[in-house]
């Protein structure tokens, strides 16, 4: 399939932080018994990482796992491997009660990077960004839309929202990152 496109391909903005649309990412919504060893093994096999704890998030490049709820985990893989990963999970957990749905295209992904990245997020999400570290995923809202974010490297956050809200998300992040708007707190 040649012409696949993300919601706001190539969108980029430079203000007090850099805001970029991050293109297509592979995401699988997994529901099941997260404490079962078979489940943990199957998820490790497709993501390459161990099951994280509550609100934990472990990402290695484009692959990883993020804890979403007591019975839900977000599985991350490269975009074109998502269907294959669902197949693998279906095979490994056949006979068990679980659910693995490819939701890669239902999402839009952005990165917010730079010294003031935390402040940009703190303007829009009711989250205490002062102590926010890598290894944590926060499901919350960014202004008026549902969103999740985690720190993928120092001073850089990955923000995920529904694909339909991509333009709203980008517009809102741009305003929060406008030149001259440093808060000077974090």
């Amino acid at each position: 399939m040649s012409d696949v496109r993300s919601a706001l391909a190539g969108a980029s903005f430079e203000g007090i932080a850099r805001v970029k649309e991050a293109g297509l990412r592979g995401m699988i919504s997994f529901r099941g018994d997260l404490s079962a060893s078979k489940v943990k093994a199957a998820l490790k096999a497709v993501s390459g990482v161990d099951m994280p704890g509550q609100r934990g998030c472990v990402v290695n490049g484009e692959s990883g796992l993020a804890w979403m709820s007591p019975d839900e985990v977000l599985v991350m893989v490269p975009h074109d491997e998502a269907d294959g990963a669902v197949e693998k999970l279906n095979k490994a957990l056949k006979g068990q009660h679980f659910m693995a749905e490819n939701v890669s295209d239902a999402r839009a992904v952005f990165t917010v990077s730079g010294k003031h990245a935390r402040e940009v997020i703190a303007k829009l999400a009711p989250v205490d960004m002062s102590g926010f570290q890598a290894g944590e995923i926060r499901r919350t809202r960014i202004a008026q839309v549902a969103a999740a974010f985690w720190m993928h490297e120092a001073d850089a956050l990955t923000v995920v929202c529904f694909r339909s809200g991509a333009e709203y998300m980008f517009g809102t992040l741009k305003i929060a990152a406008q030149t001259g708007s440093e808060v000077g707190v974090y």
């Binding site: 205490d128 305003i175 406008q178 707190v185």
Partner: protein, 1003 residues
């Protein structure tokens, strides 16, 4: 006259002159000036006109409590009315205009109201303007509209940007005076994360002006030391130009930060609204001085004593060459000393107390100032500027003893702790009789989630007026805060100080005490709204005895200054009139914000393109580029129709319908809800949620299903597809996606938690395209890759495969009644598939059609629409959908409800088709009338229209509606009166207007 002094002014930088304009006149000031201090320096004491009587108004205060000096500021997109000159920092190019006068500030025809003051007392709004009735619309209202309001309404869009900021602290301290700084230090040293905010650009509050020594040095030095210490601490965040706007439940606090009002040339947002969550809040918000109520206390030149000396010390500005001081307390003597020290004249200090003042009075006499005890001001003379004061005995009725020429009056009725932020969330007050003030009752603080107090007052805000004692009080507040957090309070060394020996204040609520009606009519309480002592007394006489009633009847305290100077004086007068003690009268409710905040700061980023999150499908750009006329469906934007050049909306819709039925139409159906339901109990679960049997649906098959609420009402409909043994795909209406997902989760989590079912909302994972019309199969065959022949994919069947290279799910379902397919592909492929279908479909005249064409076509086939045929009171049986209700199922949501007598009643209106006799279109929402009238005298009705359109396919109007006994009355006519005077007569017919045999979709 008021003027700039040659020395002094700790806030101004005389090396940095600033040019600004006032009412078009170019004036000069210095960086650090407020607009008020700069205007005074230019001998512009008169700064506006009052609201009701258009009386001349001069600046009265030096801070946020200012009621008079309100300005229209700026131009165009930067214009803002009602800006206080006392809190506006001047900058080069500032353009200010005074308010509420015509033609100009000096000569205002509105002042004619003043002459009619006798006929325009408080409450006159409720008594006049009643008769004659016709005059209300044509005379009174236009006149009132013209004269109401102070500032002008902005006409241009706000050119500035605004933002929010979420912040979390252990202890938030509101107020950066001595008390706030000290409390912050104690809290921070004890390990708390502290936020300290100060609304002024400067730290220290009144310390620098009111003098006094701490540790043997001027208080200002101690302030600098404290600030430096706090700045060095990692766990302390300091902000100036940030006001604590409101205290809300559970430690939620709003901070209003003004970033660029003083420097508009800087980039960035103008205001930032901090949304703070703090475990403990310390209100170190200081105190506000009270005016004295004497006749003429509103004449420009009469000011608060504290403010007058603020202008001298902070800005090097003298309000007048000859200043008379009138007071009931020792504090105002500081102003007399400051005026003297600046080289100006104080002809007399009038101390209303018979016993006079303490050490401060002695010092004044020693400095050669005349001090008179037991004396008062009977009246101030002057119109636009103070000319003289007439002196009398405070104990008397105002008999004039002496007249003294002067150009300014410094008055002090005492100081009121700023209890607003303490009170916002329920903190209670206690009346301190000794000091004549309301202060926080620490036994009744605002309570948090656990029932514990979360606000602590400190310093003057807590009624502790002495500077040194206030520091101990602040330290105590800091300790209390950290202890509430479970930390150990660290001992902090406090500075040495000498407590000044002050003679006690004596409350003076009327000056002189026995002033008659003539004087009371000129003794002002609320300067902005023109409320006088006589008005409050009038309100009490007319029976408005509750302080809340008095406030609304007189409008005392209802102006933009929210009663900061008039509150206490007003309720004291009310108390005296009613013969009750002040605590019995109480205060009115304190509500946030503390002072006005901009609407822009509340909106933050939410305006223009991001006012609301508009949801867009993967094909949105194509729609925009092809003449889409959008309609909102929830937060989605869907194309209602696609207008070509010169087409009206109606013409476009008709063209789309004809093209689709004739050949090939393409619909963006991506917004429809897609819920994946999986698990061993999925079938059982769906059997409970739908009226139909879903567990019997075979993989690869589709079934149209209805969902009802527990109450039996039809809630949503859609096609259910069985993907495999354990997995179903449930389609919902666009507006129902999140709602039905939530509905499913609610039942799974609260009722059937032991059933093995998972649900995922996959709505946005798939772009979905309706390929509709006689040539729909042909275009899919052109794309190739999947067998879509009649044999391979029958009606209501599903298959998946690589269609033209796309990863597609193909559903053969029909809403329009033609041969029809819905193709779902991952959203990232949606636009590409859309383009490919148009390319392959070009030879078939592939036509994009929107939601309206879709609505009309389904109506031509008699298919219902959730939201048109349903309104929350409709059950499937009303709509002829009993066939979709399983008789075999023991239970499903709504089953028992539908067995209730009211639901099984044959009198319920039933769905039928309606065809006007003349081919016209029945208006939306029209009711079918019946014979006679009901008990209310209204015409009887026997039905109503639920959907109505012009059908280009049939060349006439068609409609569906609910009619009493409709299905039994085929061929009868009913009348629908329109709102246009016409009556629409329609024949009852089958709702399936087009292709009743259903041949078209079965090819």
């Amino acid at each position: 006259m008021s003027t700039r002094l040659t020395h002094g002014g700790r806030r101004i930088d005389r090396s940095k002159p600033v040019t600004f304009s006032f009412n078009g006149k170019s004036l000069k000031g210095f960086q650090g000036d407020t607009l008020a201090s700069a205007l005074l320096a230019n001998d512009q004491m008169m700064m506006g006109r009052s609201f009701k009587y258009h009386r001349p108004r001069g600046v009265v205060a030096s801070g946020a409590e200012e009621p008079n000096a309100l300005m229209n500021m700026g131009e165009g997109g930067k214009f803002e009315p009602n800006q206080r000159a006392t809190t506006t920092e001047v900058f080069d190019g500032l353009a200010a205009k005074s308010q509420n006068h015509w033609p100009n500030l000096e000569f205002d025809i509105g002042v004619i109201n003043n002459s009619f003051a006798r006929f325009l007392p408080a409450g006159f709004y409720y008594k006049t303007f009643l008769f004659p009735r016709f005059a209300w619309k044509h005379i009174y209202e236009p006149f009132i509209r013209q004269s109401a309001g102070l500032g002008q309404a902005p006409k241009a869009r706000d050119a500035d940007t605004y933002e929010h900021f979420y912040f979390f602290a252990d202890v938030a301290v509101i107020g950066g005076g001595l008390a706030g700084l000290q409390a912050a230090k104690t809290a921070a040293l004890s390990g708390a994360k502290v936020l300290l905010m100060e609304q002024d650009p400067f730290w220290g509050g009144r310390a620098a002006v009111d003098g006094g020594e701490l540790d043997g040095a001027p208080a200002a030095e101690y302030v600098s030391r404290l600030v430096a210490e706090l700045e060095a601490m990692e766990n302390v965040t300091l902000r100036t130009r940030m006001m604590g706007a409101g205290v809300y439940d559970h430690g939620y606090l709003l901070g209003y930060e003004r970033l660029r009002d003083h420097a508009p040339e800087l980039a960035g947002p103008r205001h930032r609204l901090w949304k703070i969550r703090a475990s403990q809040i310390i209100t170190a918000s200081g105190a506000i001085e009270r005016p004295l109520s004497f006749a003429g206390n509103d004449i420009p030149g009469v000011m608060l004593a504290g403010a007058l000396r603020d202008y001298i010390a902070d800005y090097g500005v003298s309000a007048g060459d000859r200043v008379v001081v009138v007071t009931n307390n020792d504090d105002a003597y500081k102003t007399a000393m400051a005026v003297k020290a600046a080289g100006l004249d104080v002809p007399v200090i009038l101390d209303a107390r018979a016993g006079g003042g303490g050490a401060a009075a002695d010092a004044a006499r020693a400095a050669g100032i005349r001090v008179e005890n037991g004396k008062a001001i009977a009246k101030v003379t002057g119109g636009k500027r103070v000319k003289s004061v007439k002196i009398c005995a405070q104990a008397g009725e105002g008999g004039v003893l002496e007249e003294i020429a002067c150009d300014a009056v410094a008055m002090s009725g005492g100081w009121s702790p700023v209890v607003h932020l303490w009170s916002h969330c329920g903190g209670k007050l206690v009346w301190d009789e000794e000091h004549a003030m309301f202060r926080p009752d620490e036994t009744r603080p605002p309570l948090g989630a656990t029932g514990e107090g979360f606000v602590i007052p400190a310093g003057a805000a807590n009624g502790v007026m002495d500077m040194g004692v206030g520091l101990a009080d602040a330290d105590h507040a800091g300790r209390k805060a950290v202890e509430a957090l479970g930390l150990t309070a660290k001992a902090v060394k406090l500075p040495e100080f000498e407590q000044a020996a002050e003679a006690p204040l004596e409350p003076v609520w009327m000056m002189p005490q026995g002033a008659g009606p003539k004087l009371r009519m000129k003794a002002w309480l609320d300067y902005q709204n023109d409320v006088k002592v006589s008005d409050v007394q009038l309100a009490a006489q007319e029976g408005y005895e509750s302080v809340e009633h008095t406030k609304r009847y007189t409008t005392l305290g209802m102006a933009t200054d929210q009663g900061k100077l008039s509150n206490i004086n007003g309720l004291a007068v009310l108390s005296e009139t009613l013969g009750q003690a002040i605590p019995e009268t109480g205060t009115t409710t304190f509500r946030p914000p503390y002072t006005p905040i901009s609407i822009g700061s509340i909106a933050g980023e939410a305006r223009g393109a991001v006012f609301q999150p508009l949801r867009r499908t993967p094909m949105h750009d194509w729609h925009e580029a092809n003449g889409a006329y959008f309609e909102p469906v929830g937060q989605w934007r869907r194309a209602y129709t696609y207008q070509r050049a010169g087409e009206s909306v109606h013409e476009a819709v008709n063209r789309e319908i004809l093209a689709t039925r004739e050949s090939l139409g393409l619909l963006d159906a991506s917004t429809l809800g897609k819920l994946i339901v999986k698990g061993p109990d999925a079938g059982k679960f769906l059997d409970m949620l739908y009226t139909n049997m879903m567990s019997t649906l075979k993989p690869g098959k589709c079934r149209y299903g209805l969902m009802c609420s527990e109450n039996g009402f039809l809630s949503d409909d859609g096609v259910v597809v069985r993907l495999d043994e354990e997995t179903f795909l449930c389609h919902t209406t666009t507006g129902g996606a999140e709602r039905i997902h939530g509905h499913m989760e609610e039942w799974l989590q609260t009722e059937w938690w032991d059933w093995q079912v998972y649900v995922t909302n996959a709505t946005e994972q798939w772009a979905q395209i309706g390929v509709v019309g006689p040539n729909s199969r042909k275009v899919l065959e052109k794309l190739g890759g999947v067998d879509v022949s009649k044999e391979a994919l029958g009606f209501m069947e599903y298959t998946a495969g690589k269609l033209g290279g796309f990863d597609a799910r193909i559903f053969r379902i029909s809403f329009a009644g033609e041969l029809s397919y819905e193709i779902a592909v991952p959203a990232s492929q949606g636009r590409a598939l859309w383009d490919a279908l148009f390319e392959a479909g070009a030879e078939f005249n592939a036509t994009a059609y929107g939601t309206e064409a879709m609505h009309v076509m389904r109506a031509e086939k008699g298919f219902i629409m959730i939201g048109d045929e349903t309104d929350g009171t409709i059950i499937p049986q009303d709509l002829g959908l009993s066939w979709a209700i399983s008789k075999k199922k023991e239970d499903f949501l709504g089953k028992r409800a539908q067995e209730r007598a009211f639901m099984a009643d044959p009198e319920r209106w039933q769905l039928v088709g309606l065809e006007t006799v003349d081919g016209s279109v029945i208006p939306d929402g029209a009711y079918a009338v019946a014979e006679g009238k009901n008990a209310n005298g209204q015409r009887n009705v026997q039905g109503r229209v639920t959907s109505t359109y012009f059908s280009p396919t049939l060349g006439k109007g068609i409609a569906m509606g609910l009619i009493h006994k409709g299905p039994e009355r085929m061929g009868e006519t009913v009348d629908f009166p329109g709102t246009d005077g016409k009556t629409y007569t329609a024949k009852i017919v089958s709702a399936v207007f087009y292709d009743p045999e259903g041949e078209k979709q079965n090819v």
